[in-house]
């Protein structure tokens, strides 16, 4: 193991890797700050581009985008009260009022440093827990993995949308679409309709970019077409002398930072709970524990610290079930699984054994990325502010072309570009009818894993009773049933 750690850190600490981490963080901040886009859009577009990079550099680059995107979303939240991502909604509560008081840069600095703090805490937990979790997961048999995936699907379906039934419907739809292609057990083509491009199944890029990125972009374009936007909102004026964030002010928020990081890390380990929930829980806990709760909502630095530390801490912890079990906790982790697979690495319990040096290289890259994030984020504040002025009417059409290029690059297939547009339409319909895109994509990503473990369960035990008789599988199934009964029949949702 020590050889793997040393080898991994050696692989990560290169100038080439550092360059791509800087690029990833910068792109992530830009995507997070740009109106109408998010780090998910950036991730989906850039995944195919990483095809040409080494696995370590590729994943480090993509993780940079995720980290940058989380803090980038806070920039419009603070400056114009329009969060760039859902997790930054909580940041508007204190970020915008502080900006209105003439201290926008101070608010952005606090948001950035809190984000980096949360990231660091969560990455340390990931590094400490990933290997032990993987060891435990190695003892899981097919029945345990099947029941765990069913639980993960139910949690994600229940918590990422407004309706459990609708969430499960799109999850099942995603699972069904994942069966298209050559059957891995028998080698026969399933529902390929004789189309060669479908032999490998529906392309991950086409479905990810189409449903997650392009459907959002096209929806916004239609909105702008029908209701043209007015002039850009004016940014608050400020004095440079009032923008300094002192060490004393930052130290006074340390307890809040640790508490929020802990909350975000815990939530990140559980699939489906989401970054937004972490941000709001962190905020609520900070307000309750604060000596000055009346200052919250009026530009409190503690309020900004609580939200940003919590929402950033989700990222690293999300990779614990991703690496140990191959089950992503959120959309970003699901996309990273796709990136792992493109580079020939199968996430799951054997990942640490078979690709230990790559995993430790990834951990080293994540720690490096946190330092880079603090540095680049701070230096680039004047640039990120200018990015906000970019009109949607120019940015969004360019993103469509980037999506086309992103899908065409790895496959050189116009069929896949057409498939991407098809899923764009499907994603648009799902958005408008309140079906969870996260559940759909998770179903597609983890469906093959579920099929594989289900088949193994049937081969080993002859029937599915093992899901209810095995000592580890049974609690997972009971929790699933509890969730279905508890959440399926109540009106108020946890995410409400």
């Amino acid at each position: 193991m020590f050889e793997q750690i040393i080898s991994g850190f050696g692989m990560a600490l290169t100038l080439y890797n550092m360059m791509f981490i800087i690029l990833g963080i910068s792109m992530g901040i830009v995507f997070g700050a740009l109106p109408g886009l998010s780090s998910i859009t950036g991730l989906t577009i850039m995944i195919p581009v990483t095809f040409y990079l080494s696995p370590v550099t590729a994943i480090a680059f993509l993780i940079g985008i995720t980290k940058g995107g989380t803090s980038g979303g806070a920039i419009p939240a603070i400056l114009i009260n329009a969060p760039g991502s859902s997790e930054a909604v909580a940041t508007t509560r204190d970020g915008y009022p502080l900006a209105q008081k003439g201290k926008p840069i101070k608010a952005m600095k606090m948001a950035l440093y809190s984000s980096v703090f949360g990231d660091c805490c969560s990455d340390v937990v990931l590094i400490l827990l990933a290997a032990p979790f993987a060891l435990i997961a190695l003892k899981f048999g097919p029945a345990e993995i099947t029941s765990l995936i069913i639980l993960a699907f139910t949690m994600i379906a229940a918590l990422s949308g407004h309706s459990l039934v609708k969430g499960l419907i799109v999850t099942t739809l995603g699972v069904f679409f994942a069966t298209i292609g050559i059957d891995p057990e028998n080698g026969v083509p399933r529902m390929t309709f004789g189309v060669v491009d479908l032999f490998d199944g529906i392309s991950l890029n086409a479905i990810a970019i189409g449903t997650l990125a392009l459907s959002s972009v096209i929806s916004q374009l239609f909105d702008i077409w029908r209701q043209p936007e007015g002039d850009m909102v004016n940014f608050p004026k400020f004095k440079k002398s009032e923008q300094v964030l002192t060490l004393k002010e930052f130290r006074s928020c340390l307890k809040t930072l640790f508490r929020s990081s802990y909350i975000g890390t815990f939530i990140g380990m559980l699939p489906g709970l989401g970054v937004t929930l972490a941000a709001f829980l962190g905020y609520a806990a900070a307000k309750k524990a604060s000596k000055n709760p009346e200052k919250f909502g009026k530009g409190s630095l503690e309020g900004i610290a609580a939200c940003e530390a919590a929402n950033s801490a989700v990222g690293g912890a999300n990779l614990i079930p991703t690496i140990a079990l191959g089950i992503p906790g959120n959309l970003a982790a699901a996309l990273l699984i796709g990136a792992f697979m493109i580079h020939g690495i199968t996430p799951g319990p054997f990942m640490m054994e078979e690709n230990g040096d790559i995993i430790y290289a990834l951990f080293a890259s994540m720690l490096m990325a946190n330092l880079v994030h603090a540095f680049i984020g701070r230096l680039g504040i004047p640039i990120w502010v200018k990015v906000l002025r970019a009109p949607k009417g120019i940015i969004l059409p360019l993103v469509i072309v980037l999506c086309v290029v992103g899908v065409y690059l790895p496959s050189s297939s116009i069929f896949e570009v057409g498939l991407m547009f098809l899923f764009m339409a499907a994603g648009y319909i799902m958005r408008k009818m309140s079906y969870s895109l996260v559940s759909f994509f998770m179903g597609f990503m983890i469906g093959p894993m579920l099929e594989h473990s289900l088949r193994q369960t049937l081969m080993l035990y002859g029937n599915l009773s093992a899901l209810f008789t095995r000592p580890v599988a049974l609690p997972f199934m009971l929790i699933t049933l509890f969730l279905i009964l508890r959440i399926g029949f109540q009106k108020k949702k946890l995410n409400g």
């Binding site: 069904f176 399933r190 059409p397 648009y428 088949r455």
Partner: protein
């Protein structure tokens, strides 16, 4: 509140319709697509049949869609009890004439783009796409012309020089 309640009722009706569409899709997949487009293989264990898992997922899809239709049908019968939270949730969602027109525009636009890309290449297709999209978004003048021509050329050059990938 009345407007919100109307939106909630509209969403309930849409849920019933989509449930129906999904049931039809599921039945089509179960009765026609899977039997005709997944070859049968002789295996000892049913779990190893190539059609097993697609059939299981489609059966679940049909069952869940029926549940969706049934629960929403019951809600429709009891519209007085629609909660304020449900009404607020459905305020900005919904699928009406505008969305159907948008879908038709998407389909038409996709066909034109793909045909152009296949027969004329990436550049003309992208230039047309960007210029039309920017025009509809309210961008006019030299910005529209400059960006819609420059951007695809720049992308094509960057990809060729850095990754040696040629776009169509």
């Amino acid at each position: 509140m009345d407007q919100q309640k109307n939106n909630a009722i509209k969403m309930i009706k849409l849920n019933i319709i989509t449930g129906g569409v999904l049931v039809i899709f599921g039945l089509l997949a179960f009765l026609w697509v899977i039997p005709n487009y997944i070859p049968e293989v002789e295996v000892e264990n049913i779990g190893l049949k190539p059609s097993f898992f697609p059939n299981v997922s489609v059966i679940f899809l049909i069952a869940l869609s029926v549940i969706l239709m049934a629960t929403n049908f019951l809600k429709l019968k009891r519209t007085d009890s629609i909660s304020e939270e449900e009404s607020e949730e459905n305020e900005i969602l919904g699928f009406g004439r505008i969305e159907i027109i948008n879908i038709l525009i998407m389909i038409l636009g996709t066909i034109i783009f793909i045909v152009l890309m296949k027969f004329t290449g990436f550049l003309p297709a992208s230039i047309l796409l960007i210029s039309i999209a920017m025009y509809l978004a309210g961008v006019r003048g030299y910005k529209l012309l400059l960006i819609s021509i420059f951007f695809p050329f720049a992308i094509k050059e960057i990809l060729w020089r850095t990754l040696e990938v040629m776009l169509p």
